[in-house]
């Protein structure tokens, strides 16, 4: 009896191992490297997971299911490099999505180049990313970012007195510097705050109030700090129009800052209310799975995996990374933002769409 049980167990283990090996061989492996223990990284991963799930339900890529292998980069370039090496050497991955933060994306791209892989660095905005022939970028460009506020000011408040509040990092400094250059004397106050370390924004709000602005533009990476800042602005009695810069006006921000955000504006390359088929399918599936409207980072994660899957289909092989990169570079794709193609590895977008928060339930509508 004991021998029978042993043999049965051994056979089961062997069968499981074989089926696992077969599945691993069949799967199209895509690496995901992002700060997945932060809210932004988690949002990005949710979108990527959903795309993989939807593609797999529809039969996979050429019959192969997508297997996402995720690693945390903790916002640290060194951690991202280590994750990249592991993906290539241990996990047998050649395609990566990620690039939540520019410094991390550039570091990871070195590993991608050395290993002849392909990477879509979706959220990162640094222009150097597209200097790598195997690095692709899908978020807005810095010029689009500044243009978003320019279009709003010209249309709504040409004489605006602008206060800028930005996180004290590469991204915040870069964007606030460009805004100061673009708007010159119209910028009446420009402040930086400490990323993650700062919880109290009353002092900055007091400074801003003194300048009597009509518009407050915010640039942040951490949603909780953005929400605290927006609340502090209102608590200080400042009734200026709030304009979170592209990518910052998310359902999570509205959930945290609540009625403070009513009437706030922003603009971006994508928003959840777009009515094309691809976006409707994405938004509905996201709501069904997670019970909430997707934010920009979820869209970027979703789009990156979807683009990679399409490129593999066009290339006709998951191993020929030259062909996959060429497919991205030369192709035209229907994604939730509309029609997209790459010019010099940078995704072109449809231009900015102005959006307004119409109520505290988190409804963001295109204007």
């Amino acid at each position: 009896m004991k021998t029978f049980i042993k043999k049965t167990l051994a056979a089961t283990v062997a069968a499981l191992a074989l089926s696992g090996a077969a599945q691993a061989q069949d799967a199209l492996k895509i690496g995901l490297v992002a700060p997945i223990k932060t809210i932004g990284g988690e949002e990005f991963q949710r979108g990527a997971d959903l795309a993989a799930e939807m593609i797999n339900e529809a039969g996979g890529v050429g019959g192969s299911p997508i297997e996402l292998i995720a690693y945390d980069d903790g916002y640290e370039p060194a951690q991202a490099v280590s994750a990249g090496r592991r993906l290539f050497s241990e996990d047998g991955v050649k395609l990566i999505v990620g690039g939540y933060n520019s410094a991390v994306a550039v570091a990871l791209l070195q590993v991608v180049q050395q290993n002849q892989g392909v990477m879509i660095a979706a959220p990162a905005i640094h222009p150097d990313i597209t200097k790598y022939e195997r690095g692709f970028r899908t978020n807005f460009t810095l010029a689009q970012n500044v243009l978003a506020l320019r279009q709003f000011v010209d249309a709504v408040d040409p004489e605006a007195r602008i206060a800028i509040i930005a996180e004290n990092g590469d991204y915040g400094r870069l964007v606030s510097g460009l805004l100061e250059k673009e708007f010159g004397d119209q910028v009446v106050e420009s402040d930086l705050y400490e990323i993650m370390a700062q919880t109290d924004f009353s002092s900055i709000a007091t400074r801003i109030k003194e300048q009597n602005p009509t518009l407050v533009a915010g640039v942040w990476g951490a949603t909780e700090q953005g929400a605290a800042m927006m609340r502090a602005i209102r608590e200080a009695g400042i009734d200026a129009t709030l304009f979170p810069m592209p990518g910052n006006l998310t359902p999570q921000l509205i959930g945290l800052a609540s009625d403070t955000m009513e009437g706030a504006y922003s603009a971006d390359i994508w928003d959840a209310s777009l009515q094309n088929d691809a976006n409707v399918a994405f938004v509905e599936a996201f709501k069904a799975k997670f019970g909430e409207t997707p934010g920009k980072l979820s869209f970027l994660g979703y789009e990156a995996v979807d683009l990679m899957a399409h490129a593999v289909t066009v290339a006709g092989s998951a191993d020929d990374t030259d062909a996959i990169a060429a497919a991205l570079r030369d192709g035209e794709f229907e994604t939730p933002r509309g029609t997209l193609d790459f010019v010099d590895n940078q995704a072109t977008a449809n231009g900015n769409r102005l959006v307004e928060v119409v109520n505290v339930n988190g409804t963001i509508q295109a204007r």
Partner: protein
């Protein structure tokens, strides 16, 4: 114009006082433990976070009004303080180099708590409403939450003063802080005093977390920043000095707030840190520490 500058200054002092007293509650936990055991509890930041999380859950799941979530926060954090002491401090502190080992064991325990919270509820921050409304006094304004922080911090400090100066436990605690061997020799149950001090420190830290969260939002990372600020305050004030910690925390908050009128926030923080460096050079035991 002079009047306007004076009002602006007064506004920043009020802003700074409220956040400074909140820092004080968090920093007190570190300094009380150092006073009796001469160790730094690097898990204290996560105790602060658990206090805020317990208050958030009490509000969301039990529908308790914000004020009643504060005792829940203190109780949960106090309990965690006891666990931290039993699991990460008591087993190692009596060893040779045990005081250095405690830095690592409490840090590791804090990391475990942080990862456990991340794994169970994810990294997403949560909105946590405190006391609503804004108080206007002439041109000055203060949100009711900030006013509440000042009141609760003040009452907590008075209670602590009473406990340390007027009760038997306070006498035992002071005797232990002075000389553990002598305290044991006169029959004080030092183990019990240390355990209660850990629980009390954690409870005050948890209360600090529950007061801090409504100023921004609850985030699993709320304790990390708080620990760094609290650590800087207790070192510059003088490790183990309770009243020095409170005074310096208030000064820290006010100074940072007032300096931000002229500098950006990063430069204001850097200037305060520079001042602390000068303090430590001039007075190695801190501003209020014993020479």
């Amino acid at each position: 114009m002079q009047w306007k500058i004076r009002m602006l200054l007064a506004q920043q002092i009020v802003n700074g006082l409220s956040i400074g007293l909140n820092y004080a509650l968090i920093a007190l936990g570190l300094t009380l433990v150092f006073g009796v055991l001469h160790v730094i509890n690097f898990g204290h930041g996560q105790v602060v976070m658990i206090g805020a999380l317990a208050a958030l859950y009490a509000a969301e799941l039990l529908n308790l009004p914000y004020v009643l979530t504060l005792p829940v926060a203190a109780a949960a954090a106090g309990l965690l303080g006891v666990v931290l002491h039993l699991a990460a401090v008591r087993p190692v502190v009596r060893r040779r180099d045990g005081h250095q080992d405690v830095l690592l064991t409490t840090f590791a325990a804090g990391l475990l708590i942080h990862e456990a919270v991340l794994a169970s509820r994810g990294p997403a921050p949560a909105r946590f409403d405190g006391i609503p409304g804004v108080l206007h006094v002439g041109p000055l304004m203060l949100t009711n939450q900030r006013l509440f922080i000042i009141i609760v911090a003040g009452l907590t400090l008075l209670a602590l003063l009473y406990l340390i100066r007027m009760t038997r436990f306070g006498n035992e605690l002071r005797a232990l802080a002075e000389n553990e061997f002598a305290a044991r020799a006169v029959g004080i149950d030092t183990g019990k005093v240390i355990l209660v001090t850990f629980a009390m420190s954690a409870a005050i830290g948890g209360l600090g977390g529950a007061l801090l969260a409504p100023l921004s939002a609850f985030s699993p990372n709320i304790g990390q920043g708080a620990l760094m600020t609290a650590f800087v305050i207790v070192v510059a004030a003088g490790l183990g000095s309770v009243w020095g910690t409170v005074a310096f925390a208030a000064l820290y908050g006010i100074l940072e707030s007032v300096l931000s009128l002229t500098f950006d926030q990063g430069m204001a923080s850097a200037t305060v840190s520079g001042l602390m460096l000068l303090i430590l050079i001039a007075r190695p035991n801190g501003l209020f520490g014993k020479a």
